[in-house]
Symmetry: C2
Subunit: 283 residues, 2 copies
């Protein structure tokens, strides 16, 4: 038993869809969340910048003595996990490995053994998902699909039945008409809010893997193995920190968390900007 919190960071508010799953599965755990709303989004940025930003967020969170840090942002998980694991003194769990493992399990039982990865520009360009999948199952085929518009569409409050959302999903997923997948990974924390759109396009036979849900299962497994679970009897607390715009975070974020967000504090630049940790040539 360990009453320290689980620390979660994200480029902005999308990681709240991961927190939602954590709170469902591990109601006794306290959560401390840091969303980098001053520099969001990460999905169009380089490995070096994403790694530096992710480290700054993580170091800020260390002051809360977390049990572990969850990199809820798919882009951070895809581009910065090696740096985070090397630089941080606490365990770090990203969303890519658990989601890739779940996709492999689902695809291994299906035909065709083909997995679609739906993500941001940077996540797709990183090839992190194909690498994680092929490390487990080299024979599976991976179809990477960058869907840059879907994050702003979700942030704007558009839902699965919106015409523009439907057209964008059809447009991005068109390659899957010729090469149908049996599994689709929602490799961005914003996409669970469009799950219905994807399901409608993909049809009932395609397994949809939610990276947030799989990550919460992985976190539970880790806490149990380490015997540091908090008892579920007493409800865990939740504190949020943002680098900008707490009002917008509260308003838009509650759709991701599926509950009201009360405790949000603004963090000033001098409290989390430590300067570059990853040098230019590491990019």
């Amino acid at each position: 038993v360990n009453a320290n919190p689980i620390a979660v960071f994200d480029s902005g508010l999308g990681g709240l869809s991961v927190v939602r799953r954590l709170r469902e599965l591990l109601p006794g755990e306290s959560i401390v969340y840091f969303g980098d709303t001053a520099r969001v989004p990460y999905g169009s940025k380089t490995r070096r910048t994403v790694a530096n930003f992710s480290l700054e967020l993580s170091r800020f969170l260390l002051q809360f003595n977390p049990k572990l840090i969850v990199a809820a942002c798919n882009t951070s998980s895809a581009l910065a996990m090696d740096v985070l694991k090397r630089e941080l003194s606490v365990p770090v769990i990203g969303v890519v490995t658990p989601a890739a493992a779940a996709a492999v399990r689902a695809a291994s039982e299906a035909a065709p053994g083909r997995i679609a990865i739906l993500g941001t520009e940077a996540t797709i360009a990183s090839d992190a998902y194909p690498a994680a999948i092929h490390a487990l199952a080299p024979q599976l085929e991976v179809v990477p699909v960058a869907c840059p518009l879907l994050v702003p569409l979700v942030e704007e409050g558009r839902a699965a039945d919106d015409l523009i959302v439907r057209l964008a999903v059809e447009d991005y997923l068109a390659p899957l008409r010729k090469r149908p997948a049996s599994v689709a990974v929602l490799a961005c924390t914003h996409y669970p809010l469009l799950r219905e759109s994807f399901a409608r396009f993909l049809g009932p036979d395609v397994d949809i893997v939610d990276s947030g849900r799989e990550t919460s299962v992985e976190v539970a497994r880790f806490l149990e193995a380490e015997r540091i679970l908090s008892p579920a009897a007493q409800a865990g607390s939740m504190r949020c920190f943002v680098s900008d715009n707490p009002a917008r975070f509260r308003r838009v974020g509650s759709r991701f968390l599926c509950e009201e967000i009360s405790d949000v504090a603004l963090v000033s630049a001098e409290e989390y900007i430590t300067g570059p940790l990853v040098e230019r040539d590491a990019s």
Copy 2:
């Protein structure tokens, strides 16, 4: 005559559409540009954050001894002009005042005397355009229209004939069906690339004001009045700096500049991040 450059900053690459107009009108001027591609976009962020970021970019540009600084970003111009003018020792020209003045001139000759402002979430929320317009012509009606999706649509390379672009434009501009405007201001540096889309929706009787074009006219007027124009006989140079991803800047940016971009340098965080200059309560 003054051979020092014109400094231009922007949240990312959109400001290149302003530079395009500057280079057309003032081919003898050298330009030094700083795009904050590590923290782009500004359009969903608060006044305090946008002011701090804009000041950091401006201070970096001061090392080139510019004749003046152009805040090419509409969001910066709408949220940070007072801070920039107060803190910087060189003249600063933003895009809001010139565009508002042009809109007033056009609307004063038309009926109805109604001006639509098309911009980002933050530009629209700031009310900077209505304030600038009403300072000149209190009787004119202003219809503010936030169009958050249009920036990512343009960045993705979608053009005026794209179905999603057309639907988004129709969706955002729907309020103008009931309250038709005689002038529409493209109050975001990305929007000139969708000019044709707007024109198609608005029809031939609506004057479209391009904030970049009006700003370049204002810059020319200022340089002439101060007698610091560079002779047009010799072509001015152009250097670009970005806080992230020079490759993407070169690729996507050339569509905004309408010429190839050769000279782009990456600036590290320690070279431009000076920490917060505007305190929390100034927000």
